[in-house]
C-alpha cells in the first residue's frame, strides 16, 4: 500500500476514535442532564401532591369546625366545641402552608387571595352562631343557622378549592408528561449513542487489525516472501541447468550404446536401454513442467483486454493439432471479453483443450463445448467434454501439482496442466472448479473478475 493511502487510513482511524469519544461524552452529558431534570420534575410532582393534600386538609379543617359548631348549637354542651377549637388552630396553619407552597404560582396565589376573606367570613359566621347559642340560646342560634349564610360561604370556599385542585392537577399532568418524554428521549439517546459508538468502535478495531497491524505484520512477511522468491529463483535456475545435464548424458550415452554396440546387445538388452531412455525423457519433462509451474508463480501478470472468443479458438486449433485425424464436435458460444494476461490465459485454454482432446480420444462422437455464465462481478468460462471423466471423490486432487487420476498407459501427461490452470486463474484473482462423472465426461470452470 502506498504511503499516502496508509496515512489517510491512520487519519481516518484517529477521526473515528475522536468521534467515538465525542459520542460517549455527549451521551453522558445528556444522561446527566436528564437525570437532573427528572429529579427536578419529581420534586415538583411531589410538590403538586402536597398542594392537593393541603387543599383537602383545608376543607376537612373547615368541616371539622362546622361539626363542632353544629354539635354545640344543638346541645349547648362545651364538649361538642372541641373539633371547632382544634380546627380553628389548624385552619390558619393550613392556609399559611398553602400560601408558602404556591408562592411561585400566580394563579394559585390569586385563588388564595380570593379565598382568604371567604375563610375569614366563614370563621366569623361560625363564631357568631356559637356566641348566639351561648348568650341568647338555641332559638337565636338556630335562626342564625337557618339564614343559610354559613353554608353559602362554605360552598364558595369549596368552589375556590375545586378550582385550585384543577389547576394543580393540570400542572401535575404536565409534569408527568414532561417526565415521561424526557425518559423516552434519554432512553433513545443512550440506546442510539451506544449503538453508534459500538459500531464505530468495531470499525476502528477492523481498521486497526486490517490496515495498521496488518501492515506491521505484513512488512517483515513481504521481506521474507521476497527472500524466499529469490531463493526459489536461484533454485529453479540451478535445477534447469544442473538437473538436466546428467539426464542428457544418460540419454545421450544410452543412445551411443545402442548405436555403437547394438550388435552386442540382445533384444532384452535393447529393451532395457529403451526403458532408460524413456524414463530419462520423462524425468526431463517433469523438470520442465516443474520449472514452468514455478515460473508461473513468479511471472508478472500484465493485464489488458482479451478477446476470449479468438483466443479460445486459437488455443483449440493448437490443441487439435495433436490429433488431426480425429473428428471432434467443437461447440463454442461467443465469449465475453475479459481483462487479463493474454499469454497466461492462453495457457489456461490450451491446457483445458489439450485435456479435453486427450480424454475424449477413446470416445466415439467426441464433443467439446465451451461456454460462459456471468454472475455479479465475475465471468465464469467452462470447457465441457464427453470424455473419460473422473470420479468426483478425487476432485480435490485434480488441480494439485503432478496429481493424475489416470495412468500414463491410459492417458499420457505429467499432471502439471491443471495445476498451471489453477495458478494462472488464481493469480488473476479468479477460481477454478471441476465436475465430472466416470465415463461420461468432465466440465472445468474458471472464473475471472469482470473488468
Amino acid at each position: 500500500m502506498p504511503l499516502p493511502k496508509k496515512l489517510s487510513v491512520r487519519t481516518l482511524n484517529a477521526v473515528l476514535i475522536f468521534l467515538i469519544v465525542a459520542i460517549f461524552i455527549v451521551v453522558s452529558l445528556l444522561t446527566y442532564q436528564s437525570l437532573i431534570r427528572i429529579d427536578t420534575d419529581e420534586y415538583w410532582e411531589i410538590h403538586s401532591y402536597q398542594v392537593q393534600g393541603m387543599l383537602d386538609t383545608l376543607i376537612s379543617d373547615l368541616e371539622n369546625m362546622e361539626t363542632g359548631q353544629r354539635g354545640y348549637v344543638i346541645t349547648g354542651q362545651q364538649d361538642f366545641l372541641e373539633p371547632y377549637t382544634a380546627g380553628l388552630l389548624d385552619v390558619n396553619k393550613t392556609f399559611q402552608t398553602l400560601q408558602t407552597l404556591t408562592a411561585d404560582n400566580a394563579t394559585q396565589q390569586h385563588y388564595l387571595a380570593t379565598m382568604q376573606p371567604l375563610i375569614a367570613a366563614k370563621l366569623a359566621d361560625l363564631q357568631n352562631s356559637i356566641s348566639l347559642r351561648t348568650n341568647e340560646g338555641f332559638a337565636a342560634a338556630q335562626a342564625d343557622v337557618l339564614t343559610n349564610k354559613g353554608k353559602a360561604i362554605m360552598d364558595s370556599i369549596r368552589a375556590v378549592v375545586a378550582n385550585m385542585q384543577t389547576t394543580e392537577a393540570e400542572l401535575l399532568h404536565a409534569r408527568t408528561n414532561d417526565l415521561s418524554q424526557i425518559n423516552a428521549a434519554t432512553e433513545l439517546i443512550v440506546l442510539w449513542g451506544s449503538i453508534i459508538g459500538f459500531l464505530l468502535a468495531l470499525l476502528v478495531n477492523y481498521i486497526i487489525y486490517k490496515f495498521i497491524i496488518g501492515e506491521m505484520v505484513r512488512k517483515p512477511l513481504l521481506e521474507e516472501a521476497l527472500k524466499a522468491n529469490k531463493e526459489m529463483e536461484a533454485f529453479s535456475y540451478s535445477v534447469s541447468h544442473d538437473l538436466r545435464a546428467p539426464l542428457r548424458a544418460i540419454d545421450g550415452f544410452t543412445q551411443i550404446l545402442v548405436e555403437d554396440y547394438g550388435s552386442k546387445l540382445d533384444d532384452e538388452g535393447k529393451r532395457v536401454a529403451g526403458v532408460i531412455r524413456t524414463s530419462t525423457v520423462q524425468m526431463g519433462r517433469l523438470i520442465d513442467d516443474l520449472l514452468s509451474f514455478s515460473r508461473l508463480g513468479r511471472a508478472e501478470v500484465k493485464k489488458a483486454s482479451i478477446d476470449m472468443t479468438t483466443l479460445a479458438n486459437e488455443a483449440y486449433a493448437e490443441a487439435k493439432k495433436s490429433a488431426p485425424e480425429r473428428n471432434i464436435a467443437f461447440v463454442m458460444a461467443a465469449l465475453p471479453e475479459v481483462n487479463g494476461d493474454r499469454d497466461l490465459i492462453r495457457q489456461v485454454w490450451a491446457n483445458l483443450f489439450t485435456n479435453a482432446v486427450k480424454f475424449t480420444s477413446k470416445k466415439e462422437g467426441a464433443k467439446i463445448e465451451v461456454g460462459t455464465t456471468s454472475a455479479g462481478d465475475t465471468i465464469t468460462y467452462y470447457v465441457k467434454d464427453n470424455g473419460a471423466g473422473f470420479d468426483m471423490q478425487y476432485v480435490a486432487k485434480l488441480f494439485g501439482v503432478f496429481q493424475r487420476l489416470h495412468s500414463v498407459e491410459e492417458f499420457e501427461g505429467t499432471g502439471i496442466g491443471l495445476a498451471n490452470v489453477k495458478r494462472i486463474v488464481e493469480r488473476h484473482g479468479g477460481s477454478v472448479r471441476a465436475e465430472g462423472k466416470v465415463g461420461e465426461g468432465a466440465t472445468f470452470y474458471f472464473t475471472l473478475p469482470k473488468k
Binding site: S240, A245, L247, G252, F253, T254, Q255, I256, R277
Partner: protein, 152 residues
C-alpha cells in the same frame, strides 16, 4: 573428448564445461564430418585466450576466422555471457557467429544473450535424438549454409 584439431585450422570453437555434453556435441557434429575442425575449451577464460590468441594460445595464428563459436552459458571462471560480451565488443571478432548452446531456458538468459549480440540460441534437448538432430543441423547451417562476413 580429446582435442585433435590443429589450433590454427579450427572452424568450430566449443566452449563447454561438461565433458559429457562436449562429447555429445562433438558426436553430433561428427555426423556431418567436421570433427577434425572442432576445438574444445572448458571455461570462459580459456575461450577468450583462444579467441584473442593470448595466454596459452598466444602462439595461435589463424589463417581464417572461426566459422562459429558454440557457447555454454554456465561456465567456470568467466561465464558465457561475459565471453559473449567481450567477443562481440571487439572489432576483430565481433562478426564471428556465436551460438548459445545451453540448458537454460530462462527468459532473462535469452534476452541478455540476444542483447549482447548472440546469433542464435539453442536449448540442449534432454532427448538424445533431438539433441543430435539440433546440434548437427545447427553445425550444418553455420558451417555449410551460412555465408560469413569477410574480414581483411
Amino acid at each position: 573428448m580429446e582435442n585433435t584439431a590443429n589450433i590454427n585450422e579450427v572452424d568450430v570453437l566449443m566452449v563447454e564445461d561438461s565433458p559429457n555434453d562436449a562429447e555429445l556435441i562433438a558426436r553430433a557434429l561428427s555426423k556431418i564430418n567436421i570433427a577434425n575442425k572442432i576445438y574444445w575449451v572448458k571455461d570462459g577464460e580459456e575461450a577468450l585466450e583462444f579467441v584473442f590468441s593470448t595466454g596459452k594460445y598466444a602462439s595461435r595464428t589463424a589463417s581464417a576466422p572461426l566459422k562459429v563459436i558454440l557457447l555454454d552459458l554456465k561456465l567456470p571462471k568467466v561465464n558465457g555471457l561475459e565471453v559473449l560480451a567481450k567477443v562481440k565488443a571487439d572489432e576483430r571478432t565481433k562478426t564471428v557467429p556465436m551460438v548459445v548452446v545451453t540448458s537454460s531456458q530462462e527468459d532473462r538468459d535469452l534476452k541478455e544473450a540476444y542483447k549482447l549480440g548472440a546469433n542464435s540460441y539453442i536449448v540442449k534437448p534432454i532427448d538424445a535424438s533431438s539433441f543430435v538432430k539440433a546440434l548437427s543441423e545447427a553445425g550444418l547451417y553455420w558451417l555449410a549454409i551460412n555465408k560469413p562476413a569477410i574480414i581483411k
